[in-house]
Symmetry: T
Subunit: 153 residues, 12 copies
């Protein structure tokens, strides 16, 4: 593991609208502002980050597959796919690298269907409820997990 760690920050359906709609639930920061803040944390940690957002389940799966060659770990907010996409779950399980699932809102305190994550079981861990900061905690967590995995090998 020579060189900078490379982390992919993925966002699923509707997260491109962050900060522009339903600001009472998701806060007023746009996705661009959140990405800028993540970039700053990443710089401090000496980590290279790349951002990816799509409303297409298939595109997210394609990107997860590509990540096998290009990244050391992933922070993913699958949006509503969290609750039903067994295909995303299988993609995460298949690539077998550190993947941290994040949610801005506390998924345990909203509609009951949001309480269940079908994707989390295939991830290293899950962080939810801290607004935009969930991503920052997520990047720290994934870097830690990458390092732990490297130590084991």
């Amino acid at each position: 593991m020579v060189g900078m760690l490379r982390v992919l920050i993925m966002n699923g359906p509707n997260l491109n609208l962050l900060g522009r709609r339903e600001t009472d639930v998701y806060g007023s920061k746009t996705l661009e502002q959140i990405e800028a803040a993540i970039m700053q944390v990443a710089d401090e940690m000496g980590v290279t980050v790349v951002f990816f957002q799509s409303n297409h389940e298939g595109a997210i799966i394609d990107k997860l597959h590509e990540a096998l060659d290009d990244f050391d770990g992933i922070v993913i907010n699958p949006g509503a796919l969290t609750h039903y996409s067994y295909a995303v779950r299988d993609a995460i399980a298949a690539i077998a690298m550190p993947v941290v699932e994040v949610h801005m809102s506390n998924i345990h305190g909203r509609e009951s269907f949001r309480e269940r994550s079908v994707t989390a079981a295939a991830c290293t861990g899950q962080i939810s409820g801290f607004g935009a900061a969930s991503y920052e905690h997520g990047i720290r967590a994934v870097v830690q997990s990458i390092k732990d995995a490297a130590d084991v090998r």
Copy 2:
């Protein structure tokens, strides 16, 4: 609200096959014929309509987002996505404009999985069971809803 109202008519997976397959369930009118009939109703009402059909959940979400700038209201038949796509639901909730869900068949009188709509809760209302006429009732309903919302403002 100056000028003609603009309404987007969206159709989800498999509705491009209307009138060509399973005509005993969905009737013998093709999607083109249905759209022509809708156009006529729209003309009478002085409403501009645009049609969109896709078998891709992601493309439907993208289009819902774009509709924010281009349309005053939406009539959507999400097809089978009705029953599991929380991502489409979140997209409808996010754009917060009048959206009417329509179904040609009576979803309460078929297989039990069709009875439940995960998208309807985010819509203004739902119309089901009137065959091709569901769209006509839908366009009247969305126009009414747009006007009511305008009155409130």
Copy 3:
């Protein structure tokens, strides 16, 4: 089918209180005002309408039976009976004429018990969520259904 179409507009339990109680949920129009608006739409369409409201399940079933001789179609808002009255469902199924179920509020966006309609499966279709306008859409839908049924014969 000579002469004007005759449509029965039925309202179930508690709908006599419309506009006087819980106006935040059901709007401020009284049942009389709604009926007046329906009357106007009916006149434009050249349709005769008769109104019936009862808080008694049995009276609603009796009236549905009588409708066999007196009406060509029915618009019904069964109120809370929607959620448990298999007897009303059987009455609708028995008379086998076009029956449109309407709800003023969006039944998919309230308490979970309201999401399920046991009566809708026996109806031609269902319209919900458009406030008082649900009745207007309902009368158009039932007239269309009567005409379609007549064409088939």
Copy 4:
């Protein structure tokens, strides 16, 4: 137990339409024809029968209460009330006389909601699936039950 046995034959919602609607499910005999056939069986058995039909749950309960003074046993087809009327169940339980529940169709071979009877638990027994003959079997069963109960005393 001197004199002829008196049996009340009760029919719940929509059974007044028998033989006139949905004849493929319930047969082509009208309620009057069925009652005539029952009368003949009753005569042969030396039993006095009285008939009662109502679409009103409350009227059925009132009649069950009155039966305490006027009848020795009851044959009841509660129609769709079978599936949800705990009030009818409690009325049957309260009067504590032989009550036989009958259904013309086989309630186990139709929609799943018809499979469950909330009233049967309070009855002596249940007979379903023999068309109009269910009533004839019912009257024999209730007379037998009345006699058995009398023997015990």
Copy 5:
């Protein structure tokens, strides 16, 4: 709030049989005896009470609506309607006055279907398990609630 408080004591299906049937479950006091005892408590409290009993769901709903003009609060034992009548629930919710649900038996210690009350959510509170005394506690509770509500205004 000048003059004596007026409270309506409502009883649903089968409660007219109190003291005459199933005395092991509901005690040996008749409804008349219970009403006399309530009257005495009411007199001591300086409250006017009126009694109403019906086996008809519709009549109970009608009476609840009338109560809007004639009473300050209601004590209701809906009998078995407790477990399925969303129509009674909606009527209670609509009139928005203090309504106390009472049950003579402990509904938590009998058949499992009795454990659930669909009407209680629309009431101020619920009292169950104290036999005829449930009504006495109910009248005290509703009077207290009326006074509390008056204080707030």
Copy 6:
């Protein structure tokens, strides 16, 4: 259909113990006594009856198959197989002759698992709750059903 009707009376697991064990639930008549009573009814009706009892699901299925050639109808008390034997259900469905399911106790008034019959849906009808008399009602019902079926042909 020349000559006497032939009816098979089948009893499933544990019914050979009738009258010897659990007499409080199933009564004190032995299976032999019940069979003698059935024989008498059959004689009066001019029907030939044959009795069969087995504790083996497979033997019951074998006998149902053989009945195709030897009998005109069947009265069956499947005992506890009622609640889980889809194999017996399929055997009844396969032979497609009048089959009446009988139970001595009221299956709706005991443990909840007894409330559900997986075999009844494949039968002509079901009779439960009349003790030994359930068989007598059953033989009348099956004979009636055989005659009705013959009339149709």
Copy 7:
């Protein structure tokens, strides 16, 4: 039953915070103020009351056991233990004295998990929804129950 009745007023987890936190749900009276009000009612009724509050399920069970020797009846608000503590339920069942369960809020009108009480089935009865007055109604109810039980003996 010579001398004053002795009643234990028990409060479970978190009720020590009453009046200090979440006053919108539970009101602004502190537990001390509520106890003072109860004391006054008790004095009027000539009843000795003792108060006990604990956040420990085990301490509540210990106290229930001790109550066997020291008290004639109990008013208990088990707090959230209501919804899962079968151990508290068994303790109440074991001591077999009049125990009244009280809740300040209407447990039927909040989150669905609060609707179910596992402890109520072991109590004499339940009172919920009257704020601090629930305790007052509870003390009257338990005293009545103690006297009724004494009369029986």
Copy 8:
């Protein structure tokens, strides 16, 4: 049916990774190797096969629609879409040609969510558990089904 039969072999999400990831579950053969083996079987059978893989639900639906004109039958492994994509189910139902669902692993012997297939009901049949050989059995099965269907016509 002149000329060679044309069969489309479709693979859903994540199956492009076969043989490269999770080889303990899915075996070590790559999709290319499996396709080569299928090709050989097809050649022996005189059948033309075309391969299609996508991680996009919408692309799979589009391809199913196109297959109407280009193929005589389909072998499909929908991957995780098997468990929730009612849209793929509807597409299969719409095209009404022989479609065989295959799975490499035994879906009955893994996580419980994999046990249920929402797509299989719309297919001709399902084959699961034979590793790469599931495809070979699938192609034989679909060819047999095509021939059977042709014989019927």
Copy 9:
């Protein structure tokens, strides 16, 4: 593994009636005709097959045990035992040889109880929906599985 492979073809309850009853569901081929066709396939493959059918769960289990010594693999259609016989499941698990479960009809497209197989989890794989051809695909699949297992050893 010298000499010809020996495969046991087992059929459970009611499959002896194949081709004689319910031919619309199961086709018009008798079990003997199906066995003849299987024999031909087996001959082509150089495999010895033995047939066994029983309506007795116990006999099927006994035969499964005996198969340990006499056969290399098994094709089994457990009939309705598929849906509840954990005993057959355990027998299959115990003998730990290649066992392929087959069904003639598509078990995913019938009554909901048929959708679930309790035996399949213990088998190598499952094939359903191809009529009599399911057995032919089954014999190919089991032979393939036997050879794969032999290669591993």
Copy 10:
């Protein structure tokens, strides 16, 4: 109760394979070895034991009936019948003698369907999880139960 106690040791489906298959789950002792060990314990206790094993539900029920005359108590391991055979349950309930259900593995720590015993409710008690020693504990328990029952008489 003169002479030696006689105890029947019954084993259900697949237990004849003990020690020969799946030894990791059930241990390496054969049924014969286990029976020999039981015999030794029985000798020490002065108890006569007889062994019976069958894979046939019906044979187990027959033997349970015969036990009425021949034995004082029973130790039974119903194998997988534990989880669905209401017929075995009824047989145990009918004979009303001390019956102890035993399992070698801990049924609470395996697949979820094994957690539920439909037969245990009809037994005196249940012992599970101690391997072959479960039978030894079972024989002690049944002898104790027989003696306790004798003391009561």
Copy 11:
């Protein structure tokens, strides 16, 4: 394993009341009498036993932890904690020594909530239904388990 085996006998909530309350369910022996009987069995077996009872879940967990150093095995009757205390389950799993769960009553023959044990899965085995003798069987079982475990090492 030199010296006498040390076994801890733990009793959970309400078991201190044994023999004093609800003697019809739990028998008339007090906990002290049961402990004396256990002591005698232990003496015969040459085992040291220590008794511990608490109504506090936390105290039981603390004691389970301490047992790691002081005991070779545990017999535990968790009382009602059996049905919900995942914390006790985790404590038993953590200490990984032979632990036998015992119940005096047959938990399969009472209220349905008692049928499920969340703690048993973490134990070696479970014994229920033998009254006070359950403890005696438990101590034999745990000693056997300790010896078996020692033999393996």
Copy 12:
């Protein structure tokens, strides 16, 4: 908010055994080592931390109440109480300060009962799956939440 932030680190049942038992699931670090690591992070962040562990639900609730006066935020691993302690949930809701729930293992990837957290809904957010690092991420998250809350005020 003058001075250092004070954060309470709470651990529920069985977490005192960390690093000593089940190290394959929870890792080999003891609670002391984890606390030392947390301390180091806290020092770097200029935060005062206090540690608290208890196996007693009541003690945890008491401590949560005390925290109102002494701390600015809380990191809590409720252990198995996570899955059933509504009392802990209510305590967290009552104190209304930033509370972060942490779990070392990924609760979505273990037994199904661990997937559901009844406490998380009352917390600010939840972090699970990162081993001992979950606490470090938790402390960062709670500090961030405290600062965000302070900014809002």
